[in-house]
């Protein structure tokens, strides 16, 4: 069972996303910085990357493209750009930089789950 790589620098947001996703039984590995996250992704390929574009150590857009390339190009795990910059142009750019979806903040828990479930099937309840 793969995991979801979450790159989000805002701790409260990260906590909420982890809360939502783990409540849906996804495994989440969280990084507040992009570069360690990239190393982790290369070390252990995630099933989905959920990444804030606004990162403290590296430009999220560039990172997503580099990762998409390094993780197999078109066969790389989907990357969901998650940002508070919500303009249409931002969305277009995300598409150009190798993302599979664009998630606008604020989003509702249902929206997040709907979107994630489009790429990664929800894990079956083991208990």
């Amino acid at each position: 069972m793969g995991y979801i790589l979450l790159v989000e620098d805002n701790k409260d947001n990260a906590d909420m996303i982890i809360h939502i996703l783990t409540s849906a039984r996804y495994e989440v590995r969280h990084f507040t910085r992009g570069l360690p996250a990239a190393r982790e992704a290369r070390r252990d390929m995630p099933e989905l990357i959920l990444m804030d574009f606004n990162l403290p150590d590296v430009d999220g857009r560039t990172l997503s493209l580099v990762l998409a390339q390094q993780l197999g190009g078109s066969s790389a795990p989907p990357i969901i750009a998650c940002t508070a910059r919500v303009g249409s142009v931002e969305a277009k750019l995300a598409e150009r930089f190798g993302c599979s979806a664009f998630l606008r903040k604020p989003f509702s828990p249902e929206d997040l789950l709907t979107l994630v479930q489009r790429f990664v099937a929800p894990p079956v309840r083991s208990d």
């Binding site: 909420m16 998409a68 390339q69 190798g98 604020p106 989003f107 509702s108 249902e110």
Partner: protein, 806 residues
């Protein structure tokens, strides 16, 4: 351009001088010449008159001489004795007769003076007794010749002795026929007395030719002698002579005007006259009357041509003209000199003024210091010039200072402008960042409030107390409201900055409408309103930014919900004019008064009366919607009736065939997320490059150039980050400027090469230092000496990456 200075003033002055001089000269000359002429005429006339009078006296004297000759002859003893013979005294052997003939012959010999043509002695019966002609021959008496009818006989026969009768003029005749050439004559006759009684008459025929010759020869001017009957005795025109005798009727009184006749015949004294009959001549005339009681009464006229008289005057006139000319020349000379002395300084002044006008201030004003008016003018001009110069100088200084002020003001202005632009940019950036900053915590607020309400599984299915539910809902709703406000403000700031960009694509309107209607249904809450979709499902796709279409539609719908309490809200869409789709939101709400319809699109305006004030909102929505419609090429309009409802309509362009082809598959859209079809872009391998360069402009330049060349570029100025970035990104290549602040580039290379994760990444050293060997030793793949163009760098990069691939 300096106007050509014609010497008009000088010419005028000279002309004036000449005129002023010529007029008096002319007047004086004319007057003096007139006076001279008339004086001369009078003088000459008087002289002529004197001459003529003396001539007349001579003539008279000569005529009287003849008379005295005859008196002498009549008293001479031979004549007396011959008379006695007539009276009966015997004359044996004609002794007395011969004595008498001898006497008469002596007079005939004297005919050089008085040309006696013949003498006759005639008895009382008129018979010729003795006839001695000019040759001295005694002509035989002819019996048939009787002169009793002749005036010279019958007038003389009655006269006392020593009284002489002088006949009127006659011409020489032979036996009664006038001889030619005509010889004018006079008959002198005197009675011969014996013992107190007249017994015979002595008649002398005297030629007037010598006298007339003498008269004409003594006069150069035409001279006329007129008999008392008007006949000309002397006339330059010989055809006019002897009019009475020759019956030619050419007479003085027939030829001349009445005035002339009266003047000349009527006056006793000689007179000088200028008559209209002979306008070119001055006429002088005198009467000749040797004996008052007898028949001779002549008028002697001399006509002196005026031209002859005025010849002298003309000479004077020529001298006068010559003198006038000389004085004229002198006047012109004086005028030229004088005017030059006036005009030249003025012209020089005007030339100076011209120079000054052309901006040459360094001229010297000529003629200053003169004591006359021109000198004063020059002085005044010089003063004025100095004044002007100083004023001009200060003016220039003032202009310079004003220019400086202006340019500094301009500088300040452009600085202020730059600052304003900067501020505007800063504002936009601030708003953008702020909205992002606001969104992030709101995400937590909304997310959790919603999760608590609807996702109990997140909280181990622990139910929340129902008391909290509405308040949590309030938190969530207000969170959404805040997001709306933030969105509006962000949009508006972008619109103001002209930076609102659309991401148009093919948009399936019914799909958007479904989402929007769902959201709007949520807005209805407990309002008894019907939401009515009214559009065909097969609406053609429009070319628009789906987010924005959603935004406009939702804005109109939420407005309609706000202002409508009952009835329905219809969302209608239809194709108009084939290339447009018009989308209307029609409500049955309170409507908008006419005067408010234009205001509703104004920023921050909400109709502030009555019920409206209860309704919350930023008032930005309609403005933004209108702007967004216009950005799409359409517009947003409103039609409304108070109390019945409103209809807001916006238009979007139908996607053209080209647009349909170019567009990717329609993006899947949700209010919160967009899912992309992953493009083939990722199939091509794109190399990433880590660019380490501390100089900003160089870094920007290289980054852009490399991106354009198709590489992914991560750049940094911080040498300390290189290792972390390299490890995190594992770029295909690193471009490194070794002259970095704080950290040595050489150390960075060593570090990179020391870590097995990054040791294989080729490093291109790019530096102004020439230490190529050191770079090679440290393991740098390539070395680029600065300065290098981006093209050179790209070439090296491309070459290196190709080699790595192999």
């Amino acid at each position: 351009m300096v106007p050509k200075v014609t010497r008009r003033l000088q010419n005028k002055l000279i002309f004036a001088f000449v005129v002023v001089l010529l007029i008096p000269t002319g007047i004086i000359s004319f007057y003096s010449l007139r006076t001279a002429a008339s004086t001369l005429i009078q003088k000459i006339g008087a002289e002529e008159l004197r001459t003529l009078v003396s001539q007349a006296n001579d003539i008279e004297k000569r005529l009287i001489d003849v008379k005295e000759d005859l008196i002498f002859l009549s008293l001479a003893p031979p004549t007396r004795r011959y008379a006695s013979i007539i009276n009966g005294l015997p004359d044996p052997n004609d002794v007395y007769r011969d004595a008498e003939v001898a006497l008469l012959r002596t007079f005939l010999d004297r005919s050089t003076i008085h040309q006696y043509l013949d003498f006759r002695i005639i008895d009382l019966a008129g018979q010729e007794l003795l006839h001695v002609d000019s040759t001295g021959e005694i002509l035989s008496s002819e019996d048939d010749v009787n002169v009793a009818g002749e005036a010279y006989f019958n007038q003389a026969i009655g006269l006392p002795s020593t009284q002489v009768f002088i006949s009127d003029y006659d011409l020489v005749r032979t036996e009664g026929v006038i001889e030619q050439p005509y010889v004018p004559i006079l008959y002198y006759s005197v009675p011969l007395e014996v013992d107190g009684a007249n017994v015979a008459v002595l008649v002398a025929k005297v030629s007037l030719e010598p006298l007339f010759w003498d008269i004409t020869s003594r006069s150069a001017a035409p001279i006329f002698l007129v008999n008392r009957d008007g006949s000309y005795l002397i006339n330059p025109d010989s055809n006019r002579l002897y009019g009475r005798i020759l019956n030619t009727f050419v007479t003085f009184d027939g030829e001349r005007s009445r005035e002339d006749v009266i003047t000349m015949f009527g006056s006793d004294q000689g007179i000088i006259t200028q008559s209209s009959d002979m306008p070119d001549s001055l006429q002088v005339f005198v009467h000749i009357r040797p004996e008052t009681q007898i028949s001779i009464r002549w008028l002697l006229i001399r006509a002196i041509p005026i031209s002859a008289i005025l010849g002298e005057v003309n000479a004077t006139q020529q001298v006068a003209i010559l003198l006038s000319l000389i004085s004229l020349l002198a006047a012109i000379l004086v005028a030229v000199l004088l005017t030059r002395s006036i005009v030249r300084p003025i012209r020089q002044l005007s030339e100076v003024a011209d120079s000054v006008r052309q901006g040459r201030w360094d001229v010297i004003v000529p003629g200053t210091g003169g004591r006359d008016e021109i000198g004063h003018l020059a002085d005044a001009f010089d003063g004025m010039l100095r004044e002007l110069k100083s004023v001009y100088g200060s003016l220039e200084a003032r202009v310079a200072s004003r220019t400086a002020e202006l340019s500094s003001a301009n500088l300040k202005l452009s600085e202020a402008n730059r600052k304003a632009e900067e501020a505007s940019r800063a504002k936009s950036l601030f708003l953008s960042n702020m909205s992002h900053e606001l969104r992030t915590p709101l995400n937590v607020i909304i997310g959790y409030s919603h999760s608590i309400l609807v996702m109990p599984q997140m909280f181990n299915n622990v139910p929340i107390p129902e008391t909290y539910r509405p308040y949590l809902k309030l938190i969530e709703d207000n969170g959404h409201y805040l997001i709306g406000l933030i969105n509006d403000i962000l949009d508006l700031s972008k619109i103001e900055a002209g930076r609102l960009e659309l991401a148009p694509t093919m948009v399936d309107l019914p799909e958007i409408f479904r989402g929007v209607l769902a959201t709007a249904t949520g807005l209805l809450k407990d309002k008894a309103l019907q939401l009515r979709p009214d559009y065909p499902e097969d609406l053609p796709p429009v070319w628009a930014d789906p987010m924005r279409v959603r935004q406009i539609t939702l804005n109109l719908l939420s407005n309609a919900v706000k202002f409508t309490n009952s009835g329905s809200i219809t969302l209608r869409a239809q194709v108009t004019d084939e290339v447009w789709v018009s989308i209307s939101v029609i409500d049955t709400g309170i409507g908008i008064p006419e005067d408010a319809r234009t205001v509703i699109f104004d920023r921050f305006r909400q109709i502030s009366s009555g019920k409206f004030s209860e309704i919350e909102g930023t008032g930005l929505g309609l403005d933004i919607s209108k702007q967004l419609s216009q950005l799409h090429g359409g517009d947003l309009t409103v039609a409304s009736e108070v109390g019945k409802g409103s209809k807001f309509t916006f238009t979007l362009p139908v996607a053209t065939a080209e647009q349909r082809e170019s567009a990717a598959a329609p993006a899947l859209l949700n209010e919160s997320f967009t899912i992309f079809e992953r493009s083939g872009l990722l199939d091509q391998e794109v190399c990433s490059i880590l660019l380490v360069e501390d100089e900003v402009s160089m870094r920007e330049l290289l980054r852009r150039a490399l991106e354009v060349a198709g590489y992914i570029v991560i750049d940094t100025h911080d040498g300390g980050q290189v290792m972390e970035l390299a490890l995190g990104l594992l770029p295909n290549l690193i471009i490194l400027d070794v002259n970095l602040p704080h950290v040595s580039g050489w150390d960075v290379i060593a570090q990179l090469k020391g870590d097995p994760a990054t040791a294989d990444i080729p490093v291109i050293v790019c530096t102004a230092s020439t230490d190529r060997t050191r770079a090679a030793v440290l393991g740098a793949a390539d070395f680029i000496a600065k300065p290098a163009t981006p093209e050179q760098v790209i070439d090296v990069v491309r070459e290196r990456l190709l080699r790595v691939e192999r």
